[in-house]
């Protein structure tokens, strides 16, 4: 059987589990799930060779809805789990799912160092500028003037700029997608997974319950007018000056992924015990 035949053997539904999503009707995360399964089918990877790792939040429910291996971890720590997994099992394709609260606040530190380490995995953050699961608190990407009972008069805080931070921290592939364009998002996911090193995709995924204004995003998004660059300075300028709705692959780096040698430990555990003996 040729590689092409094997690839053709998988269809998106092969990556879906029997668990029915409980996201709110209209939630962008439904589309993101579709993008995942379409991308996996396009890659032709057997479900048992893919691991979807997540933290906590609406977006982090996604491993349960796929038929791949999954790890629904603790809040903000998905990247730490995924990094350990990828280092010990480099043969697996590791995709990490998170949201703007889980990924940029609780998991913000892990985000910086995952970019810096450049381990070969793909990090997808479904950004809806709100903590949806816990009923609408402002997240690191919430606009300063977003006025609710929880943030009267708005937070007044400058939002986090994930793409710039990813670039500055060393991510090797940076893209922005919109959940309402699942085929385009699937295409970017395929490229991100194929690209060596740490790939970061921010997916604008509206929260229709706590941010109904985000339904307007579909009219604001537009494809990036220029192709991806491998020049970080050029990428920084583009990302810093865009309107936040510029979609596509924005940066493709060529840094070598970090992958330490494994399975060659020659230290006897008793030697370690002696070393740490009090």
């Amino acid at each position: 059987m040729s590689t092409l035949d094997v690839r053709a053997a998988y269809k998106p539904s092969d990556y879906k589990s029997d668990v029915k999503p409980i996201w709110c009707p209209g939630c962008g995360d439904y589309h993101v799930l579709m993008s995942f399964t379409r991308a996996f089918a396009e890659l032709g990877l057997p479900p048992e060779q893919i691991v979807v790792v997540s933290g906590i939040g609406c977006s982090s429910r996604i491993p349960a809805y796929t038929n791949c291996y999954g790890f629904h971890g603790v809040h903000g720590r998905s990247l730490a789990v995924a990094a350990g997994l990828k280092i010990t099992r480099p043969d697996l394709t590791v995709v990490v799912a998170s949201g703007d609260g889980d990924g940029y606040s609780i998991g913000g530190n892990h985000f910086l160092h995952a970019c810096r380490r450049n381990i070969d995995m793909t990090y997808v953050v479904m950004d809806n500028h709100i903590y949806g699961m816990t009923k609408g608190q402002p997240s690191p990407t919430t606009e300063p003037e977003f006025d609710t009972a929880l943030s009267p008069g708005g937070t007044g805080l400058r939002p986090f700029h994930p793409l710039v931070i990813a670039l500055a921290s060393g991510a090797n592939f940076i893209a922005r997608c919109f959940s309402g364009e699942p085929n385009e998002t699937a295409s970017v996911l395929v490229e991100a997974i194929r690209h060596p090193g740490f790939s970061f995709i921010e997916i604008l995924s509206p929260c229709v319950t706590y941010r109904p204004d985000e339904k307007e995003w579909k009219n604001l998004v537009h494809p990036a007018p220029v192709a991806a660059t491998s020049d970080p300075a050029k990428a920084a300028r583009r990302i810093m000056t865009d309107d936040g709705f510029n979609l596509g692959i924005l940066y493709r780096g060529d840094r070598k992924p970090y992958q330490p040698a494994i399975g060659q430990a020659s230290v006897d555990p008793s030697e370690l015990e002696r070393e740490f003996e009090l």
């Binding site: 053709a8 269809k11 029915k20 999503p21 409980i22 709110c24 009707p25 209209g26 962008g28 439904y30 589309h31 396009e42 816990t134 009923k135 609408g136 608190q137 609710t148 009972a149 929880l150 959940s179 309402g180 364009e181 699942p182 085929n183 385009e184 699937a186 295409s187 395929v190 490229e191 509206p206 229709v208 319950t209 706590y210 339904k215 579909k218």
Partner: protein, 175 residues
Amino acid sequence: MKAPGVPKIASLADLFAVAYQIEADAVERYDLLADQMDTHNNPELAVVFRDLSRAEAIHRDEIRRLAGDIDVIAHARRMAKWGRGESPEQADIGAAHYMMTPWHALQLALAGEQRALAFFQSIVGATKDPEIKKMAEEFVEEEAEHVNLVHRLLRRYPEPPESWSQDPDPAISQE
């Protein structure tokens, strides 16, 4: 991989495969919406979406039968891909709401049927192949019938008042 825009119809097999995929995608989408409505305690609407799904499934299976020896499923997997947006009859899941009414569901269905109609009309207008043209004209006829059917169904469900989405127990932010 670059997501293509609209599948190119170069043969009768292409046309059958695309027509099949349009209906198959519609079935999948209506099933998803029905599941959402079940989950969110809107059983009346779940029934409407399941009815729509069943109707599309009949059409999907009919296309497969018409295609005869053509393996429409395998062929569609290779070439029936849409880029920005989705296949024409897929209802917009971004427009779903847990309190939506049958009128809203039928509006989604109407938009889908109209997009499918426009798609097959564009094939009729563009192709030079008489076989493709003849079959595409049949699909145009069918889609036009579906548009009329949805219009008829809409007579049973008047447009709800503007307050349709007002929830007496809303999902408000924590105080």
